[in-house]
Each structure stands twice: as structure tokens, then as C-alpha cells.
């Protein structure tokens, strides 16, 4: 930790911020540094750390000080860390929080995660060494040079070797997985054939060649679903859905009644997605599953409908809330108040702003409202024309 200097945390002219991560605690070697948890920032030139509560407490270190670094996996009760080994201190270093340290490495402890991305960016910056090409207005002391090379102690070499061994061990586990993945890929080259096969079948179904039964089509579509192959086959009855989607549609029909009533009869599909998946906890629905299930509401004669507005927004709405009712109520509210914006209407009805805007637009489309469009916002008035 004695490689750090006090800093004002402001970036220099040619210095760019690469990534920042909050929830990081610094370690002087293996000991927790006498600092709180803060934000670590990586720029093209420096590693900066700032206390989250006290912004004045800010320290920085040039990236050239970094010898090498590696990840330390999280453990029980321990956050994941990045261990950074450093070159010896420079003689012309500005004062920092530590005068000396018995360690030549520091650790960044990621209490709120973010270590994967940070590690990746740090690797990029240390490879590109952009600080060498773009000098900044205030000279940042560099740690490279023959002097640093000569003072590299034997101790560090030993540490490096140990770390290298440990890295190889971890790599081995990961690489075994990758090896198996490539083996799977070879076997799965058959999967490519399967995809082509499925396309050929789909075309035949479309062109109504051969004597393919309804059952076989349904079976075929469920194969496509299992594999995750895009399904080009649609039928009048169930669209591109399968038995799975049929069951889902029925479940949704039950599950969404009450929430829809509470929200004025309409919910955005993204809202439904969150609601349903939060309730499930496991075996979650994909966005496509949800859309395909909702498309079946009509054919199953359930009291819900999937509706797509002109803007592309998709909602689920209760059949009982007919279009005329919605437009009439929108017109009433607007006439009552003289004029309304989407936000005001949303507050009035307890709807989301997105959906209340869609209702007002719908009423406008039907000729009942007209708009006043200015930079202050979009306001609707009863149409007196």
C-alpha cells in the first residue's frame, strides 16, 4: 500500500476512465488496509481509489507500478479478490496513506462483485499500456526501467512461481470443462445436421407436402422447442406454440386475473414477465415462452388478450375491459380536468405512465382527444373539432 499517493481524483487531459466499481476494500498485502470500503476506478494511466463517504480521501497509483495480477476466488464469507503484485516504490513518489509496507502486493476485495469485468479491463489496459503513448500534463512517475529490473528480489521470483502453479491448477479445472465442451461440440455437429433437417421438414409442412398429421406437427414443434431452434411453422389454431405454451397460457389465465384487476385491467408484458418469474423462483419462463403463451389466449377462449400497440409496446389486458370503455373513461378524465398529460393521467388511475400514455394515444387515434405537443411535454385536450 505504500505505492499509493494522495490524489484529487480528477482525470488528466489525455487520461480516460475505463471502469469503476463500488464496494471495494483495499488490502495491504494480506492485511485489511486502514481505509473503509470505497470505489475503485481504473483509468488508462492509473489505479484510483476513493472513499465512498469522504470524497476527499482519494489515492492513486500509476499502472506502470503493476508487476502482474491475478484473481482470487471467493470463499465462504470471503469476497472475490484481485491480487496485484507491484514493482518497488519509486524514490520520487508523492506522499500517500502509507509510508512503508512490508508487502509488495495489494488486494482489491470486491464486496459488491464486479471483479470479472474489472479483471478483464485491467488486463486490457496492462496489455495496451496506453499510458506510454499518451503522456498527461502532470508527469506521472513511471515504474519501469532498468533500475526496477535490477532490484527485483529473489523473493518475488519464488512467489511468482507459486502463484503460477496455483494458476495452472485452477486453469486445469476450467480447461477440462472447456475440453469437454469442445468434445460435446464435435458430437453436436450432428446437431447442425438436425437443424438442417428440421428446416427441410418445416418447409414441407409449410408447402403441405406429404401426409403429415396434426400430431406429428405438434411433436415436431416440441423438438424444435427442446433444441432451441427457431420455429418457422405456424398453424392457424395455435400459432407457433406447443402443448407447453398451451398449459402456460391456462396457468397465466388463472394467475393474472387478480393483478390485472388491481392495475386497471392492463399490464405491460415486461411487468407480467417480472411478476410471473419472481413468483416462480425456479424454472423461469423465457421472454419468448411468455409471448407465445399469450398469443394463445384468444384460441383458448381465455378472458385475457395480448395486445400490441402502434409503438410496439405489448400488453396483456382483460377482455372485460373493452376498448370503448377505456376510451370513454379517458375522455371523461380529460374533460373533467380540462387537459391531462400521461403522467397526470397515470397518477389519477394508478396506472404506469407507459400504459396511461397508450390509452391517451388510443383515444386520440379514435378522434376523441387532441394533443398539444411542446417541449414541456405532451398534453391532451378533448377534441372539440
Amino acid at each position: 500500500m505504500d505505492r499509493f499517493s494522495w490524489s484529487n481524483g480528477l482525470l488528466e487531459i489525455n487520461e480516460t476512465l475505463v471502469i469503476q466499481q463500488r464496494g471495494v476494500r483495499l488490502y495491504d498485502g494480506d492485511d485489511k488496509a486502514k481505509l473503509d470500503v470505497g470505489v475503485v476506478l481504473l483509468s488508462t494511466h492509473r489505479l484510483i481509489w476513493r472513499d465512498v463517504k469522504n470524497h476527499e480521501c482519494c489515492i492513486a497509483m500509476p499502472l506502470s507500478q503493476i508487476l502482474f495480477f491475478e484473481e482470487q476466488a471467493a470463499g465462504i464469507g470471503k469476497s472475490a479478490k484481485i491480487v496485484i503484485h507491484l514493482h518497488p516504490t519509486l524514490t520520487n513518489k508523492e506522499p500517500g496513506p502509507y509510508q512503508h509496507s512490508k508487502y509488495s502486493f495489494i488486494k482489491l476485495s470486491f464486496k459488491e462483485h464486479g471483479q470479472i469485468e474489472f479483471y478483464r479491463r485491467l488486463t486490457e489496459e496492462m496489455t495496451q499500456k496506453r499510458w506510454e503513448n499518451t503522456p498527461v500534463s502532470q508527469p506521472i512517475p513511471t515504474g519501469t526501467g532498468s533500475q526496477a529490473g535490477r532490484t527485483r528480489a529473489v523473493g518475488i521470483v519464488g512467489i511468482e512461481r507459486k502463484i503460477e502453479e496455483k494458476r495452472k491448477e485452477t486453469d486445469k479445472n476450467i480447461s477440462e470443462a472447456f475440453e469437454d465442451l469442445s468434445k460435446l461440440m464435435v458430437k453436436v455437429k450432428n446437431a447442425k445436421e438436425m437443424v438442417e433437417l428440421s428446416r427441410s421438414i418445416a418447409n414441407k409442412i409449410k408447402d403441405k407436402q406429404g401426409d403429415i398429421t396434426e400430431d406429428e406437427t405438434i411433436r415436431f414443434k416440441s423438438y424444435l422447442l427442446s433444441m432451441g431452434i427457431a420455429n418457422p411453422v405456424t398453424r392457424e389454431t395455435h400459432g407457433s406454440g406447443t402443448h407447453y405454451h398451451l398449459q402456460l397460457a391456462k396457468q397465466l389465465g388463472d394467475m393474472l386475473q387478480a393483478p390485472l384487476e388491481e392495475r386497471g385491467g392492463m399490464m405491460a408484458l415486461t411487468e407480467v414477465y417480472c411478476l410471473v418469474n419472481r413468483a416462480r423462483g425456479m424454472e423461469l419462463l423465457s421472454p419468448e415462452d411468455l409471448v407465445n403463451a399469450c398469443k394463445m389466449f384468444e384460441s383458448l377462449k381465455l378472458p385475457l388478450r395480448l395486445r400490441v400497440f402502434d409503438s410496439g409496446v405489448m400488453v396483456v389486458q382483460l377482455q372485460s375491459h373493452s376498448e370503448e370503455e377505456m376510451i370513454a373513461s379517458a375522455l371523461d378524465s380529460v374533460s373533467d380536468k380540462g387537459s391531462l398529460t400521461a403522467e397526470e393521467f397515470a397518477k389519477l388511475l394508478g396506472l404506469s405512465v407507459l400504459l396511461s400514455k397508450e390509452r391517451l394515444l388510443l383515444a386520440e387515434k379514435m378522434g376523441h382527444l387532441c394533443r398539444d405537443d411542446s417541449v414541456e411535454g405532451l398534453r391532451f385536450y378533448p377534441n372539440l373539432f
Binding site: 463500488r22 459488491e112 431452434i229 418469474n277
Partner: protein, 258 residues
């Protein structure tokens, strides 16, 4: 159950169809479906074997997830298409990304009043991580990007705009064309932009610049600072970073207003 016709007439008809196809060198679709179901069984058992050994890697290693996704792309399958797919059921890939989708939607919704539905990928990443809590698995930006791609299918207006080396994530169906995008990119460095800067950098007429800025204002993506020294500045809350701002708590906000 639908029975294929039996009897001489049906047999003759089938023979005729078979002959026709053989002529063209085509295989009957029914036979193909049988072939496919056999291949599927083989594939399923291969995948099961793989899953029994490496299911954990998917959740633990973002590198692995990237490799895995690329493998699926080469084959031409989408492992995230359905929660009912093999990939989801055996490897648990689906749950990882679908849950991430929920978290992304919630973060975007919570911040919409402030940034109009536009947020940097970095900020989204930070906030999703914070929301996931200490004991959850780490997620990379690649993971976020894939989850967002899936969300598009729900018509929620999710999209990604390339800006300054990273992305802005849009979560509202606001119409943003090339003109808007390029102004956002211009504003990225300082978090704001002025009409003069647009005219100088992009060589646009004043009307075009104002038209674009007005649209951003209307959509709630930009805030106008008309008291700035010189000319008005158009600020984009989506681009506010830790270095130039900090979140204000409701108590602090109350203290600040007279």
C-alpha cells in the same frame, strides 16, 4: 386419434406419393421426423453426460458462458429461446439469464423517472450487481447484453446504442433515429452538449440540431440548463457518472430546497 387411411385405396395413394418423392430424390417428411427424433435422443444423452460434470461451470464462469453461447450460435440453436429447452432444463442456462432479465427490467424501471429510460451499460451493470447481493454469482457485461437481446421480444423498447466504446441501454419505446444517436455520442464526453457544439462537430443547420434536442427533451432523456454561462446546455442524466455526481437521498433533497 387420426388414423391414416387403411385399405387398398390409401395404400395405393401412399405408394404413389412415395414414388413421386423418390423420383425427385426427396425423403418423406414423416421419415425425416422419425430420423430427427432419434438424433434428438442421442443428443439429449450427450448433453446429459456433459451437464452431470459441468453444470456448475455455467453459473460460475462467465468465460465459459461466452464459449458456450458461441458454440450454440455455430450450430444454429438458441439456448435461451425457451425455459422448456434442453439447455435450460439440463444446464440451467435459462434461469441464469431470465432472472438477470428481471433484474435489468427492475433497475431500468426504477431509474426511468431520472434518466428517461436511457442508461449506460456500466451503470446498469453496477446497479444490477448491487441488487443481486453479496452471495449471488457475478455477472459480466456480456451476460447483460445477451439478457437484453432476449428482452426485446416483449416489445418493451429495449435496445442498445453504441456510444464512446460502450453502450447506452434504452428501455422505453422512444423513437431514436441516427440523428439522435449521433448527438448522444457527442454528449458522451462531458455529459452535456450545446447547439454550437453540434453545429461545429456535425456541421448541421441550427434547425436540425434544435429539432433533435427538443425531441430528447420531450422524451425526458435530456434536461435543459438555460442558466449556463454562454449558451444553454442540454444534459443527459444517463451519462452522469460517479465522478461528476452522486445520488441524493430524499432527506438531502429536502434540506437543499429552501
Amino acid at each position: 386419434m387420426h388414423r391414416r387411411g387403411v385399405g387398398a385405396g390409401a395404400i395405393a395413394k401412399k405408394k404413389l406419393a412415395e414414388a413421386k418423392y423418390k423420383e425427385r430424390g426427396n425423403v418423406l417428411a414423416e421419415d425425416q421426423i422419425v430420423q430427427m427424433s432419434k438424433q434428438l435422443e442421442t443428443f439429449k444423452s450427450n448433453l446429459e453426460e456433459f451437464a452431470s460434470k459441468h453444470k456448475q461451470e455455467i453459473r460460475k464462469s462467465s468465460q465459459f458462458r461466452v464459449q458456450f453461447q458461441e458454440m450454440c450460435a455455430t450450430i444454429g440453436v438458441d439456448p435461451l429461446a425457451s425455459g422448456k429447452g434442453f439447455w435450460s432444463e439440463m444446464l440451467g442456462v435459462g434461469d441464469f439469464y431470465y432472472e438477470l432479465g428481471v433484474q435489468i427490467i427492475e433497475v431500468c424501471l426504477a431509474l426511468k423517472h431520472r434518466n428517461g429510460g436511457l442508461i449506460t451499460l456500466d451503470e446498469l451493470h453496477q446497479r444490477v450487481l448491487k441488487g443481486r447481493g453479496k452471495y449471488a454469482q457475478d455477472v459480466s457485461q456480456d451476460d447483460l447484453v445477451r439478457a437484453i437481446k432476449k428482452l426485446k421480444v416483449m416489445g418493451s423498447g429495449f435496445g442498445m446504442i453504441p456510444v464512446g466504446g460502450s453502450y447506452l441501454v434504452q428501455s422505453v419505446p422512444a423513437e431514436l433515429n441516427m440523428d439522435h444517436t449521433v448527438v448522444l455520442q457527442l454528449a458522451e464526453k462531458k455529459g452535456y452538449v450545446t447547439v454550437s457544439e453540434i453545429k461545429d462537430s456535425l456541421k448541421w443547420e441550427k434547425e436540425r440540431a434544435c429539432h433533435v434536442l427538443d425531441h430528447l427533451l420531450k422524451e425526458g432523456l435530456a434536461w435543459l440548463d438555460s442558466q449556463a454561462a454562454g449558451e444553454s446546455q442540454y444534459w443527459l442524466p444517463a451519462l452522469f457518472s460517479e465522478l461528476t455526481s452522486r445520488d441524493v437521498t430524499p432527506e438531502e433533497a429536502n434540506q437543499m430546497t429552501p
